[in-house]
Structures are given as C-alpha cells and as structure tokens.
Symmetry: C2
Subunit: 329 residues, 2 copies
DNA sequence: TTGTATGCGTTATCAT
DNA sequence: ATGATAACGCATACAA
C-alpha cells in the first residue's frame, strides 16, 4: 500500500483468468456472467487475493458509502452512546463511518465540514455548536439537537415532553415545591425546551417552582449559593430538583450531601440524558432514546428520494428511576 | 453529490481562470507558479467553491490519508478515551479516522480488516481479540494490548510495572494480607501481565497474597463466594485487594459493602485503567497513559521509513488515589 | 453472453 | 514557467 501499488487490480485478475476486464467487473458486481467464466474469475480473485479499490469505485460512481459523524468527543457518555449506535445503524446499511471529534471547537467544526466534503463523504451527521456553521448546498446533512437551517433536518429527543415528564414525576412522587437548575450552551437548541416543558408541567399541576439558570461563564458555585439561599431553619425549601443533565444532577447531589441533606429522603433529584455507568443509571433521569435517534439520523441521511425532509423530528423519552427519587417498594 | 456530479472540477477551474489544467493542479498543491496565474486560479477556486476530490487523489497517489481504528465499542470508558485521543493524534498528522466498532465479534473484526483494506486505508490500529486474525502483508497495522505476530508492533501500558505498583502501594498503605482478583479474556495479552507484576511486587516485599482467577464463562458470583470464604469471626482476612480492572473493582466494592465491610477503612481496593466518571476516578487505580498510547500508535503506524518497528512498546503507568485507599491527610 | 473502449478527477511527465 | 497528455482502477455503453 505504501510503495508503488503492488496490490492486484482487475487487470491482473483478467489476465490470470484469461478473460476480459469487463467480465471481471461483472463478476465482482454480481452481474450475469457465464458460469464457466465466473468460476475462473472467482478462482483468480482468490488466488491473487484481489480486492476492489473503492476509491476508484467512488471516483466512478461519485458515491463512497461513507458518512461523517461530527461530535464533540467520545468520552462523554451520551456522545459515546450516539457514536456507537450511529456506527451500527450505518453498518446495517453497509456504510462506513468517518469520525470527527470537534472538542466543541467551532472552527474545527467548520473545518471538518470542509474536510468531509473534500473527502467526498455521502453525507454528514453532526452534533455541532457553531451558530454560523456553513454547509454547502447539496451536501446531505442531518443535525442532532439543533436546528441549523432550512433543508437540514434536525433530530432530537422530545425535550419538551421530557421536561413535562420530570415535573409530572416529581409531583407524583409527592413534591410540592421544586427547582429547575440549568447550565450549558445559551445557543438556541432543542435541549433548551426542557425548561419550557418543565414549567408547563408544573403549571398544569399547580406545582410551585423556582429556577436557577447559569450563564455561559458562570461557576457551578452559583448553584451552591442558590441552594444555601433556600435553606430556612436547617431545612431546604425544595423537596424536588430537576437538573438539565445527569452531569449537573451528579454535581448537585454532591452539593446537597455536602450540605447534609439526604437524597432522596429530604430532596428528590431527577436528571436528563439517561447516563449509565457500569450499567446503572447514575440518578433518576429522563432517558433519551439514543438507538432511535441514531437510526433516524441515518435513515434521514440516506433516504434516497425523500421529497420533503421533515425539518424537526422529536423522539419520545422515558423515565427511569435511579435511586435519587422515592419510588414505591 | 448524489446526482450526476455537479461539483466543480479542476477542469472547470482551469476554464474559469483561462489557464491549463496542470497549472491549477500546481496552485492547489503549492508548486511554483507565476504570481499572475496563481491569483487568477485562486480567484476561480473561490468563485466556483472548488474542492479537490480526494478520491481521485487517492487513486492517483495510492494514499488516502485515512486510518481505520478497530475497537470493541465506544461506550466503555477506556475505549472511549482511546478513540478520542487516537482521533486527535491522527488529526495532528492530517489523517482522517474510519471508526470500526467490533463489539468483540471475532468475525466482525476480520471482516473489518478486509473492509479496511478494501477501502484502501493507509493503515489500521486495532484493539482486537481474534486469536487468528489474519492481516495481509504490507497492510500497516499497530495492535493495542495484544501481540499479534511478527512485524506487527504492539502498544500497551507497562502492565507488569502496574501490577508491581499496585502491590507497592497496598504495602505502603499498611496492608499485610492482600488478594488479586481477575477476570476477562483468557487470551494471551498484555493486561495478563498485571498478575505477574503484582505477584512479583508482593514477593519482593514479603507481602502475603492470594489470587482468584475467573475463567471465561464464570459468573461474578464466584468472587463473592471467594470473599465469603475468607471471613473469620466477621472479619475479612484481606486488608487490601487489587482488581484487574476498575470495572471489576467497582463490582467488588459493591460486594464488600453488601457484606458490611467498609472501604477503605476495613479493606483498601485498587483497580486498573484510570476510569473517570464526571472527572473523578471511580476508585484508587493504576492509570493507563491513554494519550501517550494513542500518540505512539499513530507514530508507529505512519512512521515512514522505520527499518525495524519495535515489536512491543510499554508505556509507563501511574497511581491515582480515588477514595478506596487510605492515603495520608 | 463476452470483449473493447471511454471517462471519472487528479498528478506527473513531457514538450513548448 | 506553462500547457498538453498519459495513467491510476473501475464501470459501463457499445460493439462483436
């Protein structure tokens, strides 16, 4: 591979089998060929250990059977799950995956879009944060969690319903005064709807709530201050807390324990994402349907003649108890 | 990209700029060209939004600037870290990464090797389990954690030294009778040296130890039985346990708590890998140098004229306290 | 049914 | 320094 191409080509196979080039091509592509010829060709292929050069194929067909996945990293559990399931979904369609970790670098995101196009991938699936990401016409693109522009479908969990579900669960579990804590990108994206859904769910049940929303630069200490401000006579005013992500929930639970409150006895906590460590949920949580998101992204990307791609697809979330709420039994 | 190639080619650029094809190629590749021409070509490229077709490039150069990574999955933390750092290391050399998740499927591993070769990647980095994995000549391959064969370098942590380090730490932390617990592939691979290193470290210090090694099919319950067998008068005979991975350590710690032993007060536990959740180590552990492993794999893979590739490279591990040992202070 | 010839987009070797 | 042309490996329209 490194040196002057010593890999056998169709020409070599043809010579070995004593047939014409086109015949070999047909055998390789499963087109009808006389049995006698076919066998000789197949033997020659085995003997020479021939493999088609998919770059020549791609050059010819203008199709590469490769898709690029743009994602911040692979070690955040939610991202890792996405990578895995998108990889599997692509594999089911006989597609290969070019992985592009962006590390939340906006320029790198753009650079990868350029690279991906230059590398002639058949399409791109991206979970990106660059508000000005420029995607050229006729580059099939499916976005995760963020509406990017007209003609580019966005796939996400039903974040609004997830927020509602969190409110419903906390209410049903007996909470009467709850809090919503949020941090993360202030960019307009789907996960932001968790807040709206939660408010909606609280209002529908007459469940009183307060919110603490951090801005981009703020320290997590702000949350601890917020909690301290809501302690009266050693008691926390909240009996339930909904955190915008499991990661935040994890941090908040530590804070609560540091303040000598017991979870879930004194205060119940629900997170969002469905992060699992060692096969267990790290907290009670709203679970994102990652396998379904992955499958939907791939289907939308590779859909051949879909006249009108849906601009936004929201997939149903579910609730999972994870030890930070007081379920029966 | 889907339809009859409407992307501009060098020919289009040449026509637009009123120069010859070869001149455009030179501009694109940074070869010397008269300034007047260069500017006209650059403007034409901008205007047409031209991108080189790297498949045509690959066809010509027999080089694709793409490497394949074979790994069981992306959600196991150690693998996720590897994927991320290998991706970054490849990027630094301007290489793209084709990710291939094998799910521990031996046939799939072999299939991916074939696909990778067919896809004309410049090389493969693989963490594989197929003992008979067949890698064709002149396919650059670097293996992680397992010696595959002559001419194929293997990169791993210094697992032996890691085992020694675990013994040393337990001893220094006051342990006087310890246990080693192991499960996982019975395949000959580098991580198996953890056991030998640990024994060596214990013997060197006169630290008495016992071992419990599970076979491939055995249930984790065997470990619990082993622990129960070593309880006398309600006291555990071990004051230190070294687990072959952090995942196993996590399970064992749960067992110990279930048996009403306190970690680290009654018994200290050290794992292996350096798995972090929410930025914290899940237990005291021997940390694998993942960024260095990643960099080494890439360096070895892309090393141009390395006459003798080293058969085995072991990189230094380190110890990190993670709350399951009794450090000072 | 099988063989031949052309072109995909690029690079490199030539003349000019 | 620049322009024409062949070749990379494959698929396919067309001729045999």
């Amino acid at each position: 591979m490194r040196e002057k191409s010593q890999a056998p080509t169709m020409k070599d196979v043809a010579r070995e089998a004593g047939v014409a080039l086109g015949t070999v091509s047909k055998v390789v592509n499963g087109l009808p060929v006389g049995d006698a010829y076919r066998i000789r060709v197949e033997e020659a292929i085995k003997k020479l250990n021939y493999h088609v050069n998919s770059y020549a194929q791609g050059l010819k067909a203008d199709r590469t059977y490769t898709a690029a996945l743009l994602i911040p990293n692979t070690y955040t559990p939610f991202f890792a799950d996405l990578v895995h399931h998108i990889n599997l979904a692509l594999l089911r369609r006989n597609y290969r995956m070019l992985l592009c970790c962006t590390d939340f670098d906006l320029n790198l995101e753009q650079e990868y879009v350029r690279m991906a196009r230059q590398n002639k991938v058949d399409g791109i699936i991206g979970l990106t944060y660059n508000p000005n990401l420029s995607i050229e016409e006729n580059t099939p693109f499916v976005s995760i969690d963020r509406a990017i522009g007209p003609g580019i479908p966005c796939v996400a969990s039903d974040n609004f319903a997830g927020g509602q579900l969190a409110a419903e669960k906390l209410f049903d579990l007996g909470c009467r005064h709850v809090a919503f804590l949020r941090t993360g990108s202030s960019l307009t994206n789907e996960p932001n709807k968790r807040k709206a859904g939660f408010e909606n769910g609280c209002l529908a049940r007459g469940l009183s709530y307060e919110m603490k929303i951090l801005n981009d630069g703020d320290s997590y200490d702000e949350f601890e201050r917020f909690l301290r401000e809501h302690i009266t006579d050693g008691r926390l005013l909240f009996d339930g807390i909904f955190c915008v992500t499991d990661t935040l929930a994890h941090t908040v639970i530590r804070m609560l324990k540091g303040l000598r409150f017991r979870v879930p006895k004194d205060v119940q906590v629900i997170g969002f994402d469905g992060v699992r460590y060692f096969d267990e949920y790290v907290c009670s949580t709203i679970v994102q349907p990652v396998p379904e998101i992955a499958q939907m992204c791939v289907d939308l990307l590779l859909q051949e003649n879909m006249p009108a791609k849906p601009p936004l697809v929201c997939l149903p979330v579910s609730y999972a108890a994870g030890g930070t709420t007081r379920e029966e039994g």
